[in-house]
């Protein structure tokens, strides 16, 4: 399963991802409507992009009373059907990561749909802080990094 | 064979300080040829190797080289050649 993943060390809080995302989905520039948001800890020089991690059994789908939030098996990815959304906000409350949010103007919730398989946030992140790859690849890379530490080699991951 | 000194900024894993190398070059070697030789022997991590060649600033004995004529300058004994990127301000 392909998923968005974040290398926090590389994020500089340029927020180009937020701009690309809000434009692509809403046709305007508005970080408040972005499906990806950067949380900053300026006293530590740490910037953490929060993304939808594309759960296999998403809480947002489980709690939706109308089925507006559903899984599109073709990608696979979670999607929200805005016509069916009644704006209850339960999915926002249910997401453990804070990756779902609410649009006051349209009175619907929104969350990441991976742009149908080619996420624009990834292409706009010049530093490579965002990647889109199978979660198994991430596991493999971390195994190697751990092993390299034991082997006393320079850690490349 | 002229003996020359090269100074680099932005090479390898240690970028600071004066990075001085000396070498002998064949008689008649131009700055262009020297640049090509340096880039081809630099490894992948070298900034100088990866960057667009047109963006390299080159100094000969402390003076900036103007590309058109300057690259064809033939190196002489004890010449100092510096490769770097110039940025200012901030």
């Amino acid at each position: 399963m392909d998923t968005l993943s974040v290398d926090v060390e590389k994020c500089t809080a340029c927020r180009a991802c937020e701009l690309a995302c809000s434009y692509t989905h809403e046709g305007v520039f508005a970080p408040h409507l972005a499906r990806i948001r950067v949380v900053r800890f300026m006293d530590q020089g740490l910037n953490v992009p929060i993304v939808c991690v594309n759960c296999a059994r998403p809480a947002c789908v489980d709690v939706c009373p109308t089925g507006a939030v559903h899984i599109d098996r073709s990608v696979p990815v979670v999607r929200i059907n805005e016509e069916e959304c009644i704006g209850c906000g339960e999915c926002v409350r249910a997401c453990p990561f804070g990756a779902a949010d609410f649009n006051d103007d349209k009175e619907v919730a929104f969350m990441c749909d991976l742009c149908g398989g080619e996420p624009v946030c990834v292409t706009h992140c010049i530093y490579g802080a965002l990647t889109f790859e199978p979660v198994q690849t991430i596991a493999q890379r971390k195994r190697r990094a751990t092993a390299e530490a034991y082997a006393g080699r320079e850690i490349t991951a | 064979m002229p003996h020359i000194r090269l100074r680099f900024f932005g090479l390898g894993s240690r970028a600071s300080g004066s990075h001085l190398e000396t070498r002998f070059v064949p008689e008649g070697t131009t700055i262009q040829e020297l640049l090509e030789s340096v880039r081809s022997s630099a490894d992948d991590h070298d900034f100088l190797a990866r960057m667009n060649e047109r963006q390299v600033s080159i100094l000969l004995n402390g003076k900036l080289i103007r590309r058109a004529e300057g690259l064809q300058t033939i190196l002489g004994q004890e010449d100092v050649v510096t490769f770097m990127v110039l940025v200012t301000g901030g």
Binding site: A16, A20, D43, I126 | Q55, R67, T82, G89
Partner: protein
């Protein structure tokens, strides 16, 4: 709330009466002055009569993000802050990055115009179209970091963006600054003092609004393309890797590192001041970006041996390692990191702070400031403990020396007397930034004619020495021949400076970072005009853009003329015009009065300004459509 880029709104605040009101900007003003710095200059000209006290209620402080700030245009997050400057008594525009500008735009405003003086310390809370003037008495006296934290805590939102002054601005130090979102700063000319004189501690902004461009697809695609081009540009990659202080080895190599108060051009151990050293030695623990910028030239650092206490904060820029380091005869990395942190927390411009201190050191070494007058401090060059202590004293105007230096080198030299004015490296009342104008003639001209004083962040002709092929190509385009890409020539400097003036004004008006348009050229007048055109849904040409830039620069000159500035004020500091370079590859070079006069003659003629006085002629004003607004200066 969705706002179209072309529909700009001005938020006015009168701190004396507590009134606030909103104006809409007619689109034709936007087209004539591009927004940002340009419209702010126009408003300042119209709303601030000549002769007012910069630290009084009649001065106006204008915050203006660029017209494209808040969009995906790369590196477009910069804002201007405009007022009459307290250090010079002249036009003052300062520029800052960070994230405040974008947030103001999402909050519904393109300009924030502040007049008057509050009865007691206050801060502005701007959220989604509403503004509240809130009590700041409990914040007064706090450093910028603590104040930022408290504001976010009491407003209950950690995503608020702030613009803050520290104790230095509160004490009206003539080189106090405004800190934007922690890592950026509107620094020069005492802009922080203007805010302090209004009893205004902070601007806090939060916006959930949206910005819309007229031709979305064209805009977004072009912006994305330019972002990728910038990412490939080695200049930008260099800045990401080592920050602006990555230029130190280059300066050392070329023998152009201002040291010991511009009396020398190099210092032993200079590599310890470099951006490369910060990375190699493990001081660098992070890199930070301004809004929408993929360069991330800002540093985040942590001290290692904590010689002056532990620092974990924003790291020093090129100008800072020069001013607090080499200029003070100091090459200790931790001293400069600490000095930078103190300046950020107290809210002081590092360029002036360093040059004021190095001036004092030269005075001390030459016996013009005694140990007694130095309040017991040893002010020999190289004394890092004294440098740090002086920063503290200046910020609080403590002691004879702290108070003296807080007024800048021009006034301090007048008090100290003797020959001390000769090594006050200032003109118009502003300390020169760490670029040696003796060896770069275009810079010399640009610094001399800069309306705010001799520094680089108004017009920096980086291309003039032809450091890259792109730069040489640009010089060839401007002058007709690439051979003029030579900073030791006086020929064609006027042409080169004028092009950079126009480009800089356009860059500032739209909100771009000048690195992208004058160090890299991936952002350029052609694609800036295209982006503006797509944003507004109109045709807009490169010529119109550069003409608007010309109009802005001329208007700024008119402001200064109205305040009494003339050709005689377009000078460089005495040392820069009278003492040739003493060592290194540039030994013997100088840009003296004769050369400057020659270049000024050319420059004024090209601009259509009277060569005796530097005043724009009626014809020039008419051609730029400025006769109506600036006609009052031609009756002088």
């Amino acid at each position: 709330m969705i706002r179209d880029i072309g529909s700009q709104r001005i938020l006015n605040v009168d701190l004396s009466s507590g009134e606030t009101w909103v104006e809409e900007l007619p689109q034709e003003e936007l087209l004539r002055f591009l927004g940002g710095r340009g419209v702010a200059a126009r408003m300042l000209y119209e709303r601030v009569p000549p002769g007012i006290d910069p630290l009084g209620p009649e001065n106006i402080l204008i915050f203006s993000p660029g017209t494209l700030t808040g969009t995906s245009a790369p590196s477009s997050g910069r804002s201007s802050v405009t007022c009459k400057g307290p250090a010079t008594g002249l036009y003052l525009k300062v520029n800052a990055g960070g994230h405040l500008g974008a947030e103001l735009k999402y909050a519904g405003f393109d300009y924030l115009v502040i007049r008057g003086v509050a009865e007691h310390p206050v801060y502005l809370w701007i959220k989604d179209g509403e503004v509240e003037i809130r009590d700041a008495r409990h914040l007064w006296g706090l450093g910028t970091r603590e104040a930022d934290r408290l504001v976010k805590e009491e407003l209950g939102d950690d995503e608020i963006q702030t613009g803050l002054i520290g104790p230095a601005g509160e004490n009206k130090v003539l080189f106090s600054c405004i800190i934007f979102s922690q890592f950026s700063s509107a620094s020069r000319g005492g802009v922080g003092a203007v805010m302090g004189s209004k009893n205004l501690k902070a601007i806090a902004a939060r916006g959930s609004g949206a910005l819309r461009v007229a031709e979305g697809e064209e805009f977004f695609d072009l912006a994305a393309q330019i972002r990728q081009e910038l990412a490939q540009d080695p200049e930008m990659e260099f800045s990401y890797r080592w920050g602006t202080a990555g230029s130190i080895p280059g300066c050392v190599e070329l023998g152009q590192l201002p040291s010991y108060n511009f009396s020398r051009v190099g210092i032993d151990g200079a590599e310890k001041l470099s951006g490369q050293y910060l990375e190699d030695e493990g001081y660098l623990t992070g890199r930070e970006s301004c809004f929408s910028c993929s360069t991330a030239c800002h540093r985040f650092v942590r001290t290692k041996v904590h010689r002056y206490g532990e620092v974990q904060d924003s790291g020093p820029e090129l100008e800072t390692v020069c001013s607090l380091g080499a200029e003070c005869g100091i090459v200790d990395t931790e001293a400069v990191i600490k000095g930078n942190q103190l300046c950020n927390d107290y809210g002081l411009d590092t360029i002036s702070a360093g040059h004021v201190i190095s001036w004092a050191m030269e005075c001390y070494e030459k016996g013009l400031i005694s140990e007694k007058q130095a309040d017991g401090l040893d002010l020999h060059f190289g004394n890092d403990v004294s440098m740090l202590e002086l920063i503290r004293r200046i910020a609080s105007r403590e002691g004879l020396l702290g108070d003296l230096l807080a007024n800048g080198t021009k006034q301090a030299a007048e008090e100290v007397g003797g020959d001390s004015w000769k090594w006050a490296i200032q003109a118009k009342g502003l300390e020169q930034s760490a670029i040696d104008t003796r060896m770069a003639k275009g810079y010399a001209l640009a610094f001399a004619v800069n309306p705010r004083g001799p520094d680089h962040l108004m017009t920096e002709p980086i291309a003039e020495s032809g450091p890259t092929e792109e730069a040489r190509h640009l010089i060839g385009k401007i002058t007709g021949d690439e051979k003029y890409a030579d900073a030791t020539l006086t020929e064609k400097r006027a042409d080169i400076v004028r092009w950079h003036e126009d480009c800089y004004a356009a860059t500032d008006g739209l909100g771009f970072c000048a690195f992208t348009s004058t160090a890299s050229y991936a952002v350029n007048p052609d694609n800036m005009a295209q982006l503006l055109g797509h944003a507004l849904g109109i045709q807009f040409s490169e010529e119109q853009l550069m003409l608007a830039g010309r109009r802005i620069v001329t208007l700024e000159r008119c402001f200064n003329v109205r305040e009494g500035a003339r050709r005689e004020d377009d000078v460089l500091p005495w040392r820069m015009m009278n003492e040739p370079v003493t060592e290194g590859p540039q030994k013997g070079l100088i840009t003296d009065k004769e050369e400057l006069d020659w270049m000024l003659d050319q420059y004024y003629e090209m601009h259509g300004w009277d060569p005796q006085t530097g005043i724009p002629t009626p014809k020039t004003l008419k051609d730029l459509g400025l006769l109506e607004s600036c006609g009052d200066i031609v009756t002088d």
